[in-house]
């Protein structure tokens, strides 16, 4: 499986080369292309929380590699401690890559039928940055956790 995902990822290294325009070198700066959904971290957080405070919490566990050899395929897993009952559950898990052109990766709207607040995926990272998980709880609070991921491959910034 590892070999397969590596090969898959290899072909798309080029895809993420332009994901992170603002850390690209000067030559690239001139011909940078704006993506269709460009959004920076502050705006994305504001859009999610609606101005409510974001509390870093140990209840949110984000698992991502500290060093990613290939920025095109970075596995990210988010778990939130919650009973997931009808009255107390995690409404949504948001995954953000803090320095991508469009920082939003996924907004996952859960229900108590999930049994457990978990979301796993693979993201593209344009360079070394924090991957942030925001959990929206049923009581209206927002909890967060982050993990810094070092992206080593040169082609991605």
């Amino acid at each position: 499986m590892e070999r397969r995902s590596f090969l898959k990822g290899f072909g798309v290294v080029a895809a993420c080369a332009t994901l992170l325009p603002h850390v690209a070198n000067a030559a690239d700066e001139a011909k940078k292309v704006a993506g269709p959904n460009e959004m920076n971290y502050e705006n994305a957080v504001a859009a999610i929380t609606g101005g409510k405070p974001l509390t870093p919490s140990a209840k949110v566990v984000i698992v991502a590699p500290e060093i990613a050899e290939n920025g095109a395929v970075v596995p990210v897993k988010v778990t939130v401690q919650s009973p997931m009952s009808d009255k107390d559950y995690v409404k949504a898990i948001h995954v953000l890559a803090s320095k991508n052109g469009n920082v939003r990766c996924a907004n996952v709207y859960l229900t108590p039928a999930n049994g457990e607040a978990y979301f796993g995926t693979r993201v593209k990272l344009g360079g070394t940055q924090d991957v942030v998980a925001i959990a929206e709880m049923s009581d209206g609070t927002f909890l967060s956790a982050k993990q810094n991921v070092k992206v080593t491959i040169g082609g991605c910034g």
Binding site: A15, T18, N37, N100, C105, L110, A113, T121, V123
Partner: protein, 108 residues
């Protein structure tokens, strides 16, 4: 769009929390990449909405963006309430949509 649904573990009982992996074969173009020969920008094409339904009741809805990897994997938890049909509907920003079905058959 080819898709794949995997339930982990393979054997489960009613009330167990299983992991549902959904994979779709999709290019997930960011709209920022250029065609190397022509220099033209390859238009963005990415899956933007995925819904997980069990017996037509919504379990999880996802709004996703181009930052997900090529051939994206999305994995959620699911508490098995009994036998039934798990349906996953994925749609991309060009309106292409795909429905995949997996039977949930708990043992014991």
């Amino acid at each position: 769009m080819k898709t794949l649904i995997k339930i982990k573990p393979k054997e489960y009982k009613v009330g167990d929390v299983v992991k549902v992996d959904f994979m779709a074969m999709h290019p997930m173009e960011t709209g920022m990449r250029k065609n190397k020969d022509t220099g033209e920008i390859i238009p963005a094409q990415y899956i933007d909405e995925v819904k997980f339904l069990f017996n037509d009741k919504l379990i999880t809805k996802m709004v996703i963006w181009e930052s997900l990897s090529v051939n994206p994997l999305m994995s959620i938890s699911f508490k098995v309430p009994g036998a039934g049909t798990l349906k996953v509907i994925a749609k991309d920003n060009k309106g292409q949509s795909v429905e995949s079905i997996e039977q949930i058959t708990p043992k014991g």
